[in-house]
């Protein structure tokens, strides 16, 4: 039962192959960029840095004694006289101010530390893929007045342009992809595990367990999903973890239903009876006889729900209910672009994240269709 990509595309026409590989490449790119985002982008961090007596700027190699940290590739972004480079690699322009007031009063040579904003080079610097120090400036948007042009269209500096605050769209999209992935993968996995086991238990044990669990599932299903999500997020607080949780809760009942229906069918099969006749315990039957047989339909459904969850998170973010503001999410980026669009017709701020979300969901669905075709073919062979 090895599932190789080559078996997935074996009997496809070249046109169908394109419809399989292009979405696959897109999805892989989204996943890769999202996972690698911290490695690829230059970060702006608040760090304790040793400060020495203000000296002429020419002493670029000053390394203070008692330097306990290793700021490899760190550039001090402090403006004015307190700016001192502490590392040899300086790859960026000065684009920030200190957050704390410069304490340049120390006249001695002893090390004094100070909190400063520094830009950290990307761990994997890709030439031509320069993500600017203000790429993640959503953390410090007020503090760093950068040479940003709000609502700028795509250019060599900003491949996908800048948003209404002048932040680089591409890097925001990449960081927003992490939110989409977290919701699409983690919440679906959580829902699949919880909902799947609830359904299996009620489908196999029947009786009171069935009544009890399916009543809960039924009432959860009857509850308006959006209101439930809003309530959960409002109650628990607006951060990524709670949004993942809320979407998982909403997805649990449908997983429970699917697993319940499939378990009912599988439990009637003779091999389950045969396993019982050999002395298998209930748990063993659930784990070894039923679970492998309902896993395929459950996981096919999980992939569909992944797409739905990504859209759901986008919807929440559009309503301002996803990750809190400076952090990017595709939905909130679409929302950010609404005002410029109505004011002066700057369309790319809303349009680009919308396209990215659309392509991601479309790719997921295309690939799911193909996998399901294969899986169904396999099942009929059994």
């Amino acid at each position: 039962m090895k599932l190789r990509i080559s078996t997935l595309t074996r009997d496809l026409s070249s046109r169908e192959k394109v419809a399989f590989y292009v979405p696959l490449v897109w999805l892989c790119a989204v996943v890769f960029l999202s996972l690698a985002a911290p490695l690829l982008t230059m970060r702006v961090e608040l760090k304790e840095l040793p400060v020495v007596k203000p000296t002429p700027v020419s002493t670029s190699t000053t390394t203070p004694t008692g330097n306990t940290q290793n700021p490899g590739g760190v550039t001090n972004l402090g403006g004015g006289g307190s700016a001192t480079t502490t590392a040899p690699v300086t790859s960026t322009t000065v684009a920030g101010t200190t957050t704390t007031s410069p304490s340049s009063s120390s006249t001695s040579n002893e090390a004094v530390t100070e909190k400063r904003l520094v830009a950290v080079d990307p761990i994997i610097p890709i030439p031509g893929f320069k993500l600017k120090p203000w790429d993640r400036s959503w953390e410090t948007v007020k503090e760093i007045p950068s040479p940003r042009i709000p609502g700028e269209g795509p250019s060599g500096d900003h491949w996908l342009g800048t948003d209404e605050l002048g932040r680089d769209m591409l890097s925001r999209l990449i960081w927003g992809g992490r939110v989409a992935l977290a919701v699409g993968i983690v919440s679906v996995l959580v829902a699949m595990v919880i909902g799947g086991s609830l359904g299996m238990l009620s489908g196999y044990l029947r009786g009171r367990t069935e009544t009890f669990l399916m009543t809960i599932v039924g009432s959860l299903l009857a509850f308006p999903a959006l209101i439930l999500v809003i309530a959960i997020v409002a109650f628990l607080g607006q951060d990524l973890q709670n949004i993942v949780l809320a979407i998982a809760v909403v997805a649990i009942p449908s997983f429970a239903r699917i697993s319940y229906a499939n378990t009912l069918a599988a439990a009637q099969r003779e091999y389950v009876l045969a396993a019982r006749s050999l002395g298998a315990s209930r748990f063993r039957i659930l784990r070894r006889e039923i679970l492998p047989n309902i896993f395929l339909p459950l996981s096919a459904y999980a992939l569909v729900v992944t797409a739905v969850a990504i859209v759901a998170e986008g919807g929440l973010a559009f309503l301002g209910l996803s990750v809190p503001d400076p952090k990017p999410s595709w939905g909130s980026m679409i929302n950010d672009g609404r005002k410029p669009l109505t004011l002066d017709g700057t369309w790319h701020i809303s349009f680009i994240p919308a396209i990215v979300m659309f392509l991601t969901v479309l790719s997921l669905n295309l690939i799911v269709d193909r996998i399901r075709q294969i899986a169904e073919g396999k099942e009929s062979k059994l």
Binding site: M1, R206, G207, R269, E270, Y271, L273, A274, A275, R276, S277, L278, G279, A280, S281, R288, E289, P292, N293, K381, L382
Partner: protein, 335 residues
Amino acid sequence: MSRDEFLRIEDLHTSFKTGRGIVRAVDGVTLSLARGESLGIVGESGSGKTVLARSIMGLLPPRATTRTGKIFFNGEELTAMDSERLRDYWGAQIAMVFQDPMTALNPVMKIGRQVTEHMIHHMNVDRDNAKQIALKLLTEVGIPEPGKRFDDYPHQMSGGMRQRIMIAIALACGPSLLLADEPTTALDVTVQAQILRLLAEQRAERNMSMILVTHDLGVVASNTDRVAVMYGGRIMETAKTASLFANMRHPYTKALFDSIPNLKNPSHTELTVIPGRPPDLVNPPPGCKFAARCDYATDQCRSEEPTLQTDGDTEHSFACWHPVGVRGKAGVSNA
């Protein structure tokens, strides 16, 4: 009963609650079986033979099922045990072979795993030892190249092969009682003979008792020591196989026997059938269950239910008011 009783079933009733009412699938069955003996249970569809076999195991859906009566296995009362204790018997001492090898094997589990899994559980052997035993067992049941087949999935095998696997699974822990529920019904005739021969060999080798449930009198004739004929959840006639075929006392047994097509008949001979349908087990008619379809039925048959009685031969009992007395119709059908 003082015979060497390995399995004794006393007045077993099994009924299911359905929307239409209570279905009495097994309605007062008393049977016994000696060690190493082979008992055939014959009857048409819906006569309760499969439910009887599953009742002996205790493998009935727990909901809406009631089972009364006593079952003693090797001196222990199975009906008094909870499912935890029963699980130690299932697979280890009592094993079952199912009717349809196409559905009785888990399609997503490798053959080897299905054969060894309960061995590891019941016999306390480790995975490697279990594999050694299983390979030997697969050879015994006639799987060529068991080493290669060990990692196959069920769909890679033919029906006959799968039934051999099922038998290997059932025999793995060396059970002393094997319940074979129509083990050959789903197989074609040549494979049928092979499987039955295999079961007979294994039974002789292991001194194992067997209950063979089937609707095929031919299968029973060549493979069992004793036969019980079931109809409407009751035993109609039971005797030693040879004596039953030589001297059928119950009209139902005779009707079943007569409905076997005879190859000596010229072609286009109309087949003998039993008219009518099996009785409705929700509202069974009073009196003999077979009365409605019986050629010899009288008013007594329709009002009073006959009990098992003997007539001369103590091993041969039948439940009929007007037993047929044809003697001397010796010989066995198509064995």
